[in-house]
Each structure stands twice: as C-alpha cells, then as structure tokens.
C-alpha cells in the first residue's frame, strides 16, 4: 500500500494542503513523512473485513441531535463581527478586482 514519499510527492501534497514549503522544509518533511507513513502502514496486516468506517462509528458513539431551526438575533450576531461596514461583516478582499477598488 505505502508508496515511498519523495520530494516530488511532498511538493504535490503541499500544493493540495495550500502550503508553501522551503527547500529545507521539503527535505525535512519528506524524510519525516516517509518514516511516519511506514509506521502507519503497519495497520495493513490487521484483519478488518466486515468492520464499519467513519460515519457509522461516530453515529453509534454520539448520534447527531435533531436539527431544528432557531431564531437568530441579527443585532447580536453583528456585534460578534471583528470588523463591520454598517450591517455587514467586513472581510479582507480575496479577488484581484476587489483589491483595486
């Protein structure tokens, strides 16, 4: 199952994780992840046929409570905003055209 992790794969993982890694970090994380995932691969020998996965396990342990609508106090919610413009939450611009406005 386990594939050896090299710097090329690590760079791809960093891209997926939305992280920039320095050359030094690429080397360090490649070595670390390769050793740690080799340890993780020890699970492959465990017999698990017929056993359930994530959702079923958690539902059995702590079922989600019923979802029901509640009234929101808009004034109280606006007070929680770190920054506001009138009745709106202010967030940093994320699109280039917004930056130039």
């Amino acid at each position: 199952m386990q594939t050896k992790i090299d710097e090329k794969m690590l760079a791809q993982l960093a891209k997926l994780a939305n992280l920039n890694c320095s050359t030094q970090e690429l080397q360090t994380f490649t070595a670390d992840l390769d050793r740690i995932t080799t340890y993780f691969a020890s699970l492959q020998v465990v017999q698990t046929e017929g056993l359930s996965t994530d959702e079923e396990n958690v539902e059995e342990i702590a079922p989600l409570r019923d979802d029901f609508p509640t009234a929101f106090d808009a004034v109280a919610l606006l007070k929680l905003a770190p920054e506001r413009i009138g009745d709106l939450y202010r967030v940093p611009p994320i699109l280039p055209q917004e930056r130039s406005n």
């Binding site: 994780a17 970090e25 993780f40």
Partner: protein, 488 residues
C-alpha cells in the same frame, strides 16, 4: 498553623469564601501574587486577567454581601487552555496564526463556569492547535514543569497542568484529543479527566480532531475534578454531538473498592520504563489490598491504536485547519498578489513545523490512491479497537494502565516527531473508543518527578470513574504527592 490559601483545593477555597471567612478579592490577590512571583520561571500564562479577575472578585464579594445565592464555584480561580474561547479575550491556540485574534463568544463550558461564579484568572499555553506532547510546539513561549524546571510539563495542555501544579490556581480546563489532559496531569502530579466523547460541549473549543477531542478538568484531587466536570458537562444546544444525560443517581455510585474488578493487560507494559512498570504493579497490589479484584485482559488490538490515532487525527486536522486561510481568521500575509498566494503564504508563515507536518500527513492519508489504504483502514481498525475495549469493560469495572511510559522528560530531549508520538501510547485509545479516562497522581519517581495511574471506565460512566478514582486514591495513599507541592 494555617496553610497558605494557594495550597487549598477549589472546594476548600469556595467553602471558606461562602462561610464568610475570606473574601474573593483575598483569594484572587493571593494567587495573583504567587503568579507574579513565579510565572516568569514557569511560563504558564499567555494572558493574565489581573484587573478583570480582581474586578470579578469584588463583584462576587458584593453579591455575597447582599445575600444573593452563590454558585457552586464561587470564588474559585480557574485557568483556561488558550484554545477555549472566553468572550472578548485573546484565543491564540499557541500559534502565530491566531496572534491578535479575540474570541467573539464564550465557549459553552466557560458560560457554565460563569453561571457558577468561577473567576477566570488567565489563559494558558499549549502546543499550537493542541498538536504536541510537551508544550514545546507553542509559538508563544516555553512552559516548564513546576516539579523540575528543566523538564516538560507535558502537552498539549501543559500550561493548564503547570498552572495547577505551581499553585497558581486550584483548577484548570484543558482539552484532550489523544492524551492532552492526562499526560500533563501525570507529569505534573495532578488529576485529569478526558470525558466520554460528547459529555462536554466542544462549542468554543478551536477544532483539531473533531471525532476525538473533549474539554476536561485538571485539579489536585478527585473531588475538585467531580465538581468541575459536573458544571462543564451541562447542556449545550450548539455542539451537535453533545450527549445530555440525566443526573447520575448518587446511590448508584461506588462507595468501596471491595469487589471492584480492575482489568489490566501485561503485554502493554513492554515499552515502559522499569520504574514505571514497578510502580504500576505496586499500585495494583494496593488496590488488591483494598478489596479490588485485579484480572488480566486481552487488549492485543491496542498495539495498533497509535497508528490509527495519528492517521485519523491528522486527517481531521488537515480538514479543520483549512479554515485558516488568511481571510476569515488570524494572520494574513499582506503582500500577496493573488488570493491563492495570500492563502498559501498566510498558512505557511502562520503555522509552525509540527502543524504543517500533521496537515501534510492528513493530506496524504486522505489523498486519492491512499485514502482507502490509510484513512478508511484506520477507521475500520478504530471500530475493532473500540469493540475490544468495550468487550474488556463488559467484564470489568475499570481498566488500568500507567498514564505514560515514564515520568516527564527534559525539554528538548525528544526531537524526533515519531518518538514524540510514541509517548501517547497509553492515552490515545480511550479517545478512539470514546470512553472516559482519568489520570490520578499516584506517587513519585526516584528522580523526584510525579507518576500517574490511568483508569478507564465504560462510556458515559464518567461519574463512576471519578468516584472510583477517589477510592483508588485512598488505597494508594500518595501522601508525598497530595501533601507536597512543587518548590519553585
């Protein structure tokens, strides 16, 4: 001679306050003075509420003066791990990413404590986002073990544990994802409870691994533990997985160790230091002498718990920490041109090496081609481990293990991340199985550092577990731990 106030339990302080023998202001001033004198050595607090705690204390004194009803925690100073929101105060999570972030609301646990007249004295240091076992992975400061300042207090709730051990407050809140309350409790000579999953609301706790973590108490004794848990486990309508249970019938709680069946698995002791194994054996003997029956149980599946835990927790962390993109929370890299650059550079500069390592691990085990072999496999092994633990607990009242493979280690002594993960060997499996687990202070090592004894009970039997812990404490007689405290 009257003992100093800072050596008293939370309950003792509350009773002195309620009976009018001392004021809340006296209590807070005493602890603030002790913090002032010693925290520069220990490094507990990321933020100290000096003025606010004195103001709260004076208000509480006025409340008592006017004969209003007082809460169960009236006058007790409590420290809070800095990953739990207190409204309008900083929540750093020990990370540069959240420097300057202020919580807009109270966590449910905090709101419950407020209603019972607890006084918050400060926020405590932690490994960034709870990722670590020594508090060395905090971006803010280094926290030391009050019993030996060269040693780690454990982690990730190391600040909260050190706060109680240093007698900066009698109670603290931590959170436990894979042992982050129990391991520092063990290293610092305290009592620490990881509640059953769902018993304490996670609303207002910054998420690391949502299917594993719980907020829980750290104290000097089982009675304080029970009091604090009773308050923070109250209702929450915001955490969708909170379990509301009817109050535990006092008559159903154990009153003796006679007939108590304690299971232990000798095979688990293979990697434990000789002194820790010997101490654990002595503890079991003392329980036997107090009337408990000790039997061996087969928990062979637990040898896979650590790998299972790290696969699942890293996967959940990689998803949970995706929200820190420089837009909605915390640090934002200012000179990026595109949104993608801004997000990647904000995350890369804000997260430390350990957080990045775990996000990358989580990304790997969830990525196409590896998810089935790692993440889904780990979920199935988790089901198998849960079945094994529940089967053992079907025949026993308690399971017992050492809390950690050895006492606290020196700061900087464990550099290899995998070796650091292996220190969680005894604690992760109760998080996987959602059962309650508790570490109690059971004695001292030859090097003068505390040792812990871990007890585990059936799911949702948290109150039974704490009552047994009180009875086990009497059997172990850890006078050297309970009567003494770290000389700072």
């Amino acid at each position: 001679m009257t003992p100093p106030l800072y050596t008293l339990s939370g309950i003792a302080l509350r009773d002195l306050f309620k009976s009018g023998q001392i004021s809340a202001e006296q209590i807070i001033a005493t602890f603030l003075q002790r913090i002032e004198e010693h925290d520069s050595k220990v490094g507990v607090f990321t933020e100290l509420f000096k003025e606010q705690s004195l103001k709260d204390a004076r208000q509480l004194d006025a409340k008592r003066e006017s004969k209003q009803p007082l809460g169960q925690l009236a006058g007790i100073p409590i420290a809070v791990k800095d990953s739990i929101h207190i409204a309008h105060c900083a929540t750093t999570c020990g990370s540069n990413t959240l420097r300057g972030y202020r919580a807009p609301f109270d966590a449910t646990a905090i709101a419950h404590l407020r209603r019972e007249d607890a006084i918050f004295i400060g926020k405590t240091n932690l490994d960034a986002f709870g990722m670590g076992s020594s508090t060395e992975h905090s971006d803010l400061q280094r926290t030391r073990n009050p019993w030996n300042l060269r040693c780690t207090p454990g982690g990730s709730s190391g600040g909260s544990a050190a706060a109680v051990a240093a007698r900066f407050c009698p109670m603290a809140l931590g959170s436990d994802t894979g042992g982050s309350i129990r391991q520092p409790a063990s290293y610092c000579g305290l009592y620490g409870l990881k509640p059953s999953y769902g018993r304490v609301s996670r609303y207002g706790l910054v998420a690391f691994a949502s299917s594993l973590e719980q907020i829980g108490p750290l104290t000097h004794d089982a009675d304080d533990l029970e009091l604090l848990f009773g308050v923070i486990s109250r209702d929450c309508h915001c955490d969708a997985r909170y379990i509301s249970l009817v109050d535990q019938n006092e008559d159903a709680l154990p009153t003796t160790l006679k007939g108590c069946l304690i299971g232990h698995c000798p095979a688990l002791l293979a990697e434990v230091a000789d002194e820790t194994a010997a101490h654990f054996g002595e503890n079991l003997d003392k329980c036997r002498k107090a009337g408990a029956r000790v039997i061996e149980v087969d928990l062979a599946d637990l040898r896979h718990a650590l790998a299972t835990y790290y696969i699942i927790s890293c996967a959940e962390a990689s998803a949970n920490l995706a929200r820190f993109d420089g837009v909605r929370y915390g640090y934002r890299f200012k000179d990026a041109i595109t949104a993608e650059q801004s997000s990647a550079l904000s995350r890369s500069e804000g997260f430390n090496q350990e957080v990045k390592r775990r996000i990358l691990l989580g990304t790997y085990v969830l990525s196409a081609g590896f998810k089935s072999g790692f993440y889904e496999k780990a979920q199935r092994v988790r089901a198998k481990i849960t079945t094994s633990i529940n089967a053992a607990l079907a025949h026993c009242d308690l399971l017992a293990t050492p809390t950690t493979p050895g006492p606290a280690f020196e700061l900087g002594a464990v550099q290899d991340p995998l070796q650091m993960y292996l220190l969680d060997n005894f604690t992760v499996w109760s998080n996987l199985a959602a059962v309650p687990a508790l570490s109690l202070a059971s004695g001292m090592s030859s090097s003068g550092l505390p040792l812990g004894f871990q007890l585990i009970a059936k799911r949702n039997n948290d109150e039974v577990l704490m009552r047994f812990a009180s009875l086990v404490t009497k059997a172990l007689v850890p006078k050297e731990v309970s009567a003494n405290f770290a000389a700072l």
